[in-house]
Symmetry: C2
Subunit: 173 residues, 2 copies
């Protein structure tokens, strides 16, 4: 295969697709700072259509609200790069698809947009399963990548997102 | 910048973002076979948020219908890889965003899914401008890429889509 995406991304995407194909489960992603990179890696794998049928590139606040029904007050209160918004994006991806598992990514890829509290490289991830929809406790985490460039931040964020898209060993998605 | 995407894609994405920033126009993409690759290239460019606020990865037929309001009878009559469906996807991207210009991509990246009439490498592109919304004539074209691999087909398709996202010299988007 010639390379249009980094080989580590493609290898991990292949693991994700294969694991869900074996289980008969499906996934979706809601991407802000990665802007389609995770979906691009997943769809690079032949047969990925059995596992991923759609993804949401919700780059702006309006897009998060309109595509994923993220409440505006969450964005106003906590900011677009927050556990609350990432969790809401993941829930929105489930609500707007039939996927068993959704991962959301929202962060500051830079070079602009950083602050003291949330410097460039701050990325929040959320992982939501349809079978846990009643859970009120968000499964989300904030990471700070110590990367030099926008491309590096996005690359690292996409790897994290793909890892979260792997099924948990226990069962199903 | 380190490379997470091919340099030709990133260079072209930069031209697209810069041209629309200068004009104050905005764009969106509806991606099937490229699966987020075009959005990933566009969002690789710092400041792209002024130009692209969302993108749709509508990989399955259901996703095309549910995310972009592509009529099911179009898909049934013409197939998902057709001028009619690409045009409808582009119109749907305009309808579900505030973008001035939308490009849609639907094709057969392979290795499976090809037929005699539509072999692997068949990709249809549509370009729709909000100001031309009353046009009944679809601005769409079907191309057949003579590529060896899925990655090559997607790479070539993404380049074509980015070229269509450039503003026409005459004016605005």
């Amino acid at each position: 295969m010639d390379d249009i995406l980094p080989s580590d991304l493609v290898a991990l995407a292949e693991k994700v697709i294969q694991a869900h194909r074996e289980r008969g489960t499906t996934i979706s992603v809601a991407e802000s700072c990665t802007g389609g990179l995770v979906a691009a890696a997943l769809t690079e794998i032949p047969g990925s259509s059995a596992v991923l049928d759609r993804a949401f590139v919700s780059y702006s606040n309006d897009a998060k609200m309109e595509m994923l029904a993220v409440p505006s007050d969450l964005i106003e209160t906590f900011g677009a790069v927050s556990i609350a918004v990432a969790w809401s994006m993941a829930q929105g991806a489930l609500a707007h698809s039939k996927a068993d598992l959704a991962v959301a990514i929202t962060g500051i890829a830079g070079p602009e947009g950083g602050s003291e509290l949330k410097p460039v490289g701050t990325v929040v991830f959320a992982r939501a399963r349809r079978k846990d929809l009643d859970d009120k406790e968000p499964a989300a985490e904030l990471k700070k990548f110590d990367c030099k460039t926008r491309a590096e931040v996005r690359h690292q964020a996409a790897i994290c997102a793909l890892e979260l898209l792997l099924p948990k060993p226990s069962n199903s998605a």
